[in-house]
Assembly symmetry: C2
Homo-oligomer: 289 residues x 2
């Protein structure tokens, strides 16, 4: 029987980075039993000392065997490898979820080789910080964040319901259900393209004096140019078709705008500004659905 | 004799928008005599009632005649027309400055026809808000802002010194001197290109559902997509050569990044991310020079 959401659940967090660590923090704070596996002994030691977890190890198959729910805070490809290697130790009816920022390829891959008596229900907590590591673990960032569950035809209603309760318990602001495909399209635009833009903008000009003249708008726009190159290279490649399409659509809009400058086409330029103003206004509304 | 900076100076603000109004507010608060001219009778009435100005009018040539310093809060082209029409009423040695976000063309034009006994010393207070209008006038936004003076060979050292004192008096965080050409290049990148990007990004996708999934990074990046189309069309056209070049450089970086996706060129993509991270870090340093 699949686990139902209750306080006696035993969670195993694999990968105690910012997200995995924050899950551990949030769950322990709410009275759940939380254990962890992480590649770094000192990370485990820190998490145990700080009360994020009851116990943990670099590897201990008993921790896998005893878990009702396994939450992965690993990079996507590392997660695929981990599950492939260690799924044999999972107990029947274990529920698995993740935090990966892209879904389609990863979920398809995992569900293709996963044991039939274990269920992987993918989810994406759209929270984050510019810092990484377990020492920044905290659950405050969940309170303004979207939690997206991306089930496939291989998932059960029970697992979807479980993840909804999980997200509610952790106080996420919004909970949505999206297909993996729709999720990755959306993320290609609202997250990945914006990072591509910030990276490109910082790569396009090397005048160090500019720092003295920047205003808030430039700072806001480039804040996300500080980026973990290992994680994001992986995320970009895992969603490259969507991201390349988004870059193309954006480039088209950019070149259309450039053309209005060249031709001093006041009407078209103003229309683009009026449209951007109208669309952006929608985003100022309260996020609660 | 040119005015020296002292508390008995009589200022005339022409155009009581957000910037002109904030100048009036800041100067009156500091005990200067401030008068104003604005196209809207109700704006004058509001400014007088709120203590931003001593008096004002839609047009009163005596206000021009009696001013030691005239500060323009008008749109650039409107300012050129205004000076052309009313310069005959200015007293000898009047000092004129402005708030325009682009300089080269405007300054060259004004200085080409301006009376020899009146001096136009251009400046750019790099402050602003997403709102406009005199009712939002305030001087708090100056305290974190850059104040840039853009003198030409036609300007006197006395006028440059005057504007420095003016900016100090109003508590600007940094005061810089730049040529008009260098100013417009810089502004093409740090301000205009960022607005072009935000506008293009909002024009590139029309899925209204996206609002439910946006994170802070998208909100930050598109905040400036809410834009006054009349002012910014004018600013873009007045700096179109620089801005088109910046769009080209940015597009090159964007297409280079897209190519790394196409070819799954991990090394180049990571290098771009490392470079953007390094460069962006500089912008987190305190702004004070």
């Amino acid at each position: 029987m699949k686990p139902t959401f209750n306080k006696n659940l035993r969670f195993l967090v694999v990968g105690l980075g910012l997200m995995g660590g924050s899950y551990a923090y949030a769950l322990s704070k709410r009275g759940f039993q939380v254990y962890a596996i992480d590649i770094q002994p000192k990370t485990i030691a820190y998490a145990k000392k700080s009360g994020l977890i009851k116990d943990g190890a670099v590897m201990d198959v008993d921790l896998i065997r005893q878990a009702d729910v396994i939450l992965f805070g690993l990079y996507p490809n590392a997660m695929v490898d981990w599950i492939k290697t260690y799924q044999e130790y999972m107990r029947p009816n274990t529920l698995i979820s993740d935090v990966a920022g892209v879904k389609h390829r990863i979920v398809e891959t995992i569900q293709s080789f996963l044991r039939d008596d274990v269920e992987f229900i993918a989810s994406h907590p759209m929270a984050g910080k510019e810092v990484s590591g377990v020492e920044h673990a905290n659950d405050e960032m969940f309170q303004q964040a979207n939690f997206i569950i991306t089930p496939t035809e291989k998932n059960s209603e029970a697992a979807i319901a479980f993840m909804k309760q999980f997200a509610k318990e952790l106080d996420f602001a919004n909970i949505s259900i999206l297909s993996c495909e729709k999720h990755d399209e959306m993320i290609g635009y609202v997250s990945q393209l914006t990072h591509v833009i910030a990276i490109s903008l910082m790569n396009a000009n090397d005048d160090p004096d500019l720092v003295h003249y920047t205003g808030d708008s430039f700072r806001d726009l480039t804040r996300i140019a500080r980026i973990n190159e290992n994680l994001w290279t992986e995320l970009f490649f895992l969603n490259k078709e969507n991201l390349m399409k988004e870059i193309d659509d954006f480039t088209d809009a950019l070149l259309k705008l450039k053309q209005t400058l060249k031709e001093e086409d006041t009407d078209t330029l103003k229309q683009m500004m009026i449209l951007s103003t109208q669309r952006r206004k929608l985003f100022d509304k309260p996020k609660k659905r």
